[in-house]
Subunit: 248 residues, 6 copies
């Protein structure tokens, strides 16, 4: 059930049937010359919807939070970003709102790499301190071998966009996107990424090769991600989420 489209009485009728909610979170940030700024929100939302469909049970899907932790892309026009603190507060307060209505097992469905650290932190904090159990699922970490090909505006994101919002991929700029990008995220030495901004290592914002991101790959990615999310949801539904006892 998409929360935004439901009435409060619909939600009330659902009470007792499920305690699972999805909270999709994206980002509004550069994705190269060929892919829209809203890529991470579009993909997160699509995966959440597909996961809810794939899951054998009812799930409340909250509205997608469109702005995330993206200061690293701020040199590129149009990028929006929250401080990590504000992002965490937004996720935490939204998730605890959901929990107050009985949906106290929350899976954050994430579409942006820059959100990962903050989400790991805030889901841990919530689980320990609030009346909610929360985990964060990032779709491109759950698509099997494809995971290793994740870049930025590269194969995976371009492919998934072709599946969920094909009109927003600029076909005529794919080659330019590929040629002006970088093969790798970051600038590494001794296990440390020396770059704090993507503009330090990619000229046009792209990492990877978007030309390989076909609609077929996109279809497959959505299926893989939805299946993973559904499987995770079952695990979350069945898990004992009480905190462990102190060791003596």
């Amino acid at each position: 059930m998409r929360l935004s489209e439901a009435t409060w009485t619909d939600v009330s009728d659902l009470a007792g049937e499920t305690d699972i909610a999805y909270l999709p979170v994206g980002s509004t940030e550069q994705h190269g010359p060929h892919a829209p700024l809203g890529t991470d929100a579009f993909t997160a939302e699509a995966v959440a919807d597909a996961g809810a469909e794939a899951y054998d049970g009812e799930v409340v899907v909250a509205p997608t939070l469109p702005v995330g932790v993206a200061a690293e892309h701020r040199q590129f026009p149009g990028t929006l970003w929250l401080s990590p603190d504000t992002f965490r507060d937004t996720v935490r307060e939204t998730a605890t709102s959901l929990a107050s209505h009985g949906f106290d097992r929350v899976v954050v469905v994430n579409g942006h790499g820059g959100n990962v650290d903050a989400l790991r932190e805030v889901t841990g904090t919530m689980t320990r301190e609030d009346d909610v159990y929360a985990v964060a699922f990032t779709w491109f970490e759950a698509v099997g071998d494809y995971g290793s090909e994740m870049g930025h505006g590269g194969k995976l994101e371009t492919a998934l966009l072709r599946r969920v919002a094909p009109e927003l991929v600029r076909d005529d700029r794919i080659e330019e996107a590929r040629d002006g990008g970088s093969p790798r995220w970051g600038d590494w030495n001794a296990g440390v990424n020396l770059a704090h901004d993507s503009a330090e290592f990619t000229e046009n914002g792209v990492v990877g090769d978007p030309s390989t991101g076909t609609a077929e790959v996109g279809e497959e990615l959505l299926e893989l991600a939805a299946a993973s999310l559904a499987r995770l949801t079952s695990a979350v539904a069945e898990r004992d989420v009480s905190r462990p006892d102190r060791r003596e």
Copy 2:
């Protein structure tokens, strides 16, 4: 230009053409048994799009923030809310992101009464302390005489929904919505609203009569709101937004 759908290169091409951005903000909260929880986000976004269309010039329309200041509705299932502090931080950081790219005259386009105080505060704070000029426009305060008929899930919101998302209005619950609602927002004495929660004065969350909210009224509301927003945008574009000199 809808920011989410543009690429960073599109935004770059726009540089110099405009310094105006809209930031739509809604809420996810009960709107009676007949109207969806996302009402305020849907209407804010529709008004922002229509205003951008009506304005004689270019405007960047940021993605809609779907969660607002709505603790007053928290007794109704499905309502989500941010603390006013987090809401202000979110608006401020998003608006200053826009300003960093040259869109430093920001009109927040608001669809929710509960956001009004926080938006007045944060747009003032931003204008004084950051490199941005910001004001908040609330559509139902700019639709002429209709303004006086604003309730909650009542005539105005139901009408506008019939225009922008008709499939989400539950026709079969309109009468129930009207009959179980309240004629007035709040519980007043000596100029003071004694109620801090809507559940103190409305049984089903409705204030006003949704049955009078026809698609025709909705059409008119959207036109009035868009025209007001376009007019405001012109005024914002032309205004001297430097801060006044100290009086001596």
Copy 3:
């Protein structure tokens, strides 16, 4: 009972007799060339005292907080201001102190328009989260038809000052005050005040016509405000202030 003048044993003796406290809040800010910077504190305190007198029961009157939310007047020499956050924290902590002693129905008695939004927010927050019920009463919103004549350092405030602190009104500057002022608060377009600072629309800080603010009007205003406050106090004393049940 004025708290500042009472001993703790006096307060202890009052225990059980009343659970009502008033917390007067003002501002120290420009009020034109003829009226003192402390106007809002003087008037709030006077109204609180008069209301306590008019109310048929006992009330604890806390000391007046003299600095409020007034950054909008900061271009005028002598204006002091708190950030809205600090103002809210001050009000909240003072009110919860009162509640800890059994005075857990707190009426904030306000003399300054710039405080209104912050007070609405913080009284709501306190009522929901702390062991206290709080509302904010702003005297010039409860003086009947006079309310529409409220400006800034205009008829109403000048009149009330003539009643409560006549020696502080500069008679010889009343005409100058009137002539250099503005007829209206703000600079409006499409329901939006484009001005964030009073210096954007008033040369000398005045809004309205102070020359019509006679001592007779002041007398009447104090009576009206006190009667309103007393009536409100009765309503607060009798109200069921428990939070509503969740809707199912």
Copy 4:
């Protein structure tokens, strides 16, 4: 010049004449059965006024902040307290307001022992980080040998009250106050006060002997405090308040 009673034009006329402001801060807290809760505010204000009078030059005296850091007295009815953070923020924002108008050498005139630590911290922070130089003067630390007789509601405060607000001292409870009090503040071991609340060591809130606090002593205390404050003001006016150079 008392800021609350001045108009902004009066303050403007003062520009250039002085850069000194006093900010009186008190507390609203138990002072035994014989002395009012507002003791620290009354005395701080009186000392500030007397110091301004004694100083050979002009001083702007801000309104008195009536609530301070007093959680240690919260077991006694009527005591109000701010968290140290809120207290510091209030002092800092008020003082920087003063500085924005040219009064950028601020002497906080303090009447409450519980404020001392927080004031030392915040005046240091302001001096380092804001465009203001600030120090905190606590009157009972600047009255010569009398200083050693400071208790709580004891000789010194009772005496000064008899001088500045005699009608608020309850003569008929002086003996009771003395007999039910404590000879010493705190409960000490190895240089550490083990008590965090005054109720841990005084039954009725008094420390010291109020019966020795005559009006004559009060007169002398006010003169001593005013002379000290005036002397300090001269030193502040003449001091090089720029921050030292880094050592190389």
Copy 5:
């Protein structure tokens, strides 16, 4: 140069010679029945010292921060933890102190996995907002193939302890440590760790096999880590750390 052991004049003499500082950060948390709570601080400090030795140039080594982000181990007696916010603030203020003295390229030398996310965030924030460039080096991510064998209190940490603080390894509990531990960190499903506390997946706090952590391995680890850190330090020293230009 170990900062704690130097005098300010020693540091002054170093000015101009280097702009590199190390800031070791550890944690005080359970490391199984055989390894001390201070393991992460001891190892971080040892690696920092060894790296400074290996680096061909001068480095200032700040004192080791002994408490980190470790709430996930709080069910085990003796574990200390800071909130991630306080940990970030501590690191940021310490690093900007270093930068104020000219050591404005700071390498945080980290010994604890739970600190990694917070350090990545805060070094990014500092680099963008403060006058400092900072990165975080975590020793067990820079020891070649050994990295894959990192557990908790397992082979790597036990080995390095045997090298740097052998007297603190309890030989007689190594078998018990191994047998009561877990082979893997976390409880994974679809790329998500469902466990937020280590007590959810390890009985005695150990992950991995400490019995394989010999002193020889420890020696090798220290050399590998020191070499990596020295190499990183050279890269940091030579890097253009100015922020990239905005893309147009």
Copy 6:
């Protein structure tokens, strides 16, 4: 028991035996040309260890926090400092971690004058709001008559260093240290220290005469401090630390 060197099972075994913990806190700041920046941490740790030894009972000694409130020394190279807020948060979270394991009577063992105010505040706050009783012991306030000779890098600190870390005292700079120092801390007028930075009153950072700080004096100081701390610990162990009842 030194917490850093213990395993969690050691700590578990101690459960029930003691509820006392020491938390040593120092500072990393200039101590003149002859004494190391880490002086306050070294001395605090030594006193904590000696106190634990002297106390007739078991005590858990937490790791030493090496950075404190020291902005007043920031003009001297190498000085590190936390904001008072971050310092308080660090102490509070560390102490409440200790309390969560049953060590809920915490004595902060302090070696730095600049920490004193912040520690008094935070131990009070913790005792009132958290499940812990805390006090702060500053060693040089508990060494009898020696206390009056405390300066900065002067007799007392130099002496104690000679006892606990003699290799870190630069003998060849003692005379220079003495001659370039100041006889007194601060710049006083009317009971107020007009200086906010030590560089306002001492050229080389020293206050007092380090040449009188012999190892014999150091020995005596350590014994006096340890005896005081042990005595305090007994008092803390036996004290009724419940908060007092409200006065009626």
